[in-house]
Symmetry: C2
Subunit: 232 residues, 2 copies
């Protein structure tokens, strides 16, 4: 956290750069350590207080810092950092391997898929089923559905790129539903589970910003290998 000049924009907003520097600075500090006041930090970084505040506000929202009115800003406990570790494909830094079990394009699909994707019952649907592995250990099985009309021929040619969900999560909204059930018999052995094992299926519906549903994912999670956890 030294006094560096920020004239050399690298196309990145100043508050982003400051945010990253603060984040690195915080990393080494014990929880509940106070950090310097906003005026002092602004001076050190040679920016206005409003810009500095934007960086701090984001770090606060992500659970790196917390503020106390009229007292100061403090380093937050690491375990309080916000995260939503729910579905492998939708995790920020997923280091998973995927093994496509099969994929097809078919007319007619299950009614819940039609309902969620808001399509007529005679529309073509892309379906991909894949096993998700973490260091060769199966963590879940994902069934991915998308209306054919919403996929360009080019995207269909490069299915791996299409199935990288990062690109959608940023510029859209996701609704997730959690359903308790027995592991479906056809998936039990793939996940190394006995039949009648209770699992959680997470249904994720990715919307475009205008509200049109785009991709629907049913994720059958291994109860031990895939811990579902969020910090808010």
């Amino acid at each position: 956290m030294n006094a560096k000049r920020y004239c050399m924009d690298m196309k990145k907003p100043i508050y982003q750069q400051i945010k990253e520097e603060l984040q690195a600075y915080i990393e080494g500090l014990a929880a509940n350590t106070p950090i310097p006041g906003e005026r002092e930090l602004a001076a050190r970084f040679h920016v206005s207080r409003m810009t500095l505040r934007k960086a701090v506000a984001q770090l606060e929202q992500e659970g790196y810092l917390y503020r106390e009115m009229n007292r100061g800003t403090f380093v937050a406990d690491k375990k309080l950092r916000k995260q939503a570790n729910i579905v492998p494909s939708l995790e920020a830094d997923h280091c998973y391997r995927y093994k496509v079990l099969y994929f097809d394009i078919k007319e007619r699909s299950e009614s819940d898929v039609q309902y969620n994707l808001e399509i007529a019952f005679d529309e073509y649907i892309l379906r991909v089923v894949r096993l998700v592995l973490n260091e060769n250990i199966p963590v879940c099985i994902e069934e991915i559905y998308c209306a054919r009309k919403n996929i360009s021929d080019e995207q269909l040619g490069n299915l791996n790129a299409f199935l990288n969900m990062d690109q959608y999560t940023q510029k859209g909204s996701i609704r997730q539903t959690f359903l308790p059930m027995m592991i479906p018999t056809q998936y039990a052995s793939l996940l190394h589970l006995k039949i009648n094992t209770p699992i959680i299926r997470v249904d994720s519906l990715i919307h475009k910003k205008d509200g049109r549903p785009f991709i629907y994912i049913k994720s059958y999670n291994h109860p031990e290998m895939k811990r579902i956890e969020i910090t808010i």
Copy 2:
């Protein structure tokens, strides 16, 4: 969305008032309707653009609006509004009824409770078990744990006030874990469930801002009556 003056502060920040007015204004509009530009809105409300932006930014974050770079700001589809409808006690506007099944203060508790609340194995623990009802239909059973030392005698006297979780969620952090399991036999009939019904237990750990764990809740959810759903 008329041009009202904002001199009469009612202790509420201007951006809050504007946010509420915009929210009301939006309510009647169809999804994807563009709203006026920031400069025009700022003029209408007689505030600076930065203040106006703060109101809009919050509405965007909550899923009421979305912005498109260099294009404009639009009304978001209602179904994209952010929500985390997970545990009854922690829901924003819970209209549930609670029926305490029993409560006690005991030495020694289950090891997972000790672990999560970070207490020694000989510390006294308050435990409350209650049935949660939505219009007389049972939706879940909550086991609530809190270290006795963290509860004042006064709070203990007014248990209902203490168990109102609103007060903690604002000024703290919550970690929630989702566990698939069979309904515990002792709870099956209370929730009107057959034994061997798969359910989701949601474990919520409420922390103070300094990272100290405070309250631990195990919520056994009725799979049909309590739908677990989040929109992010």
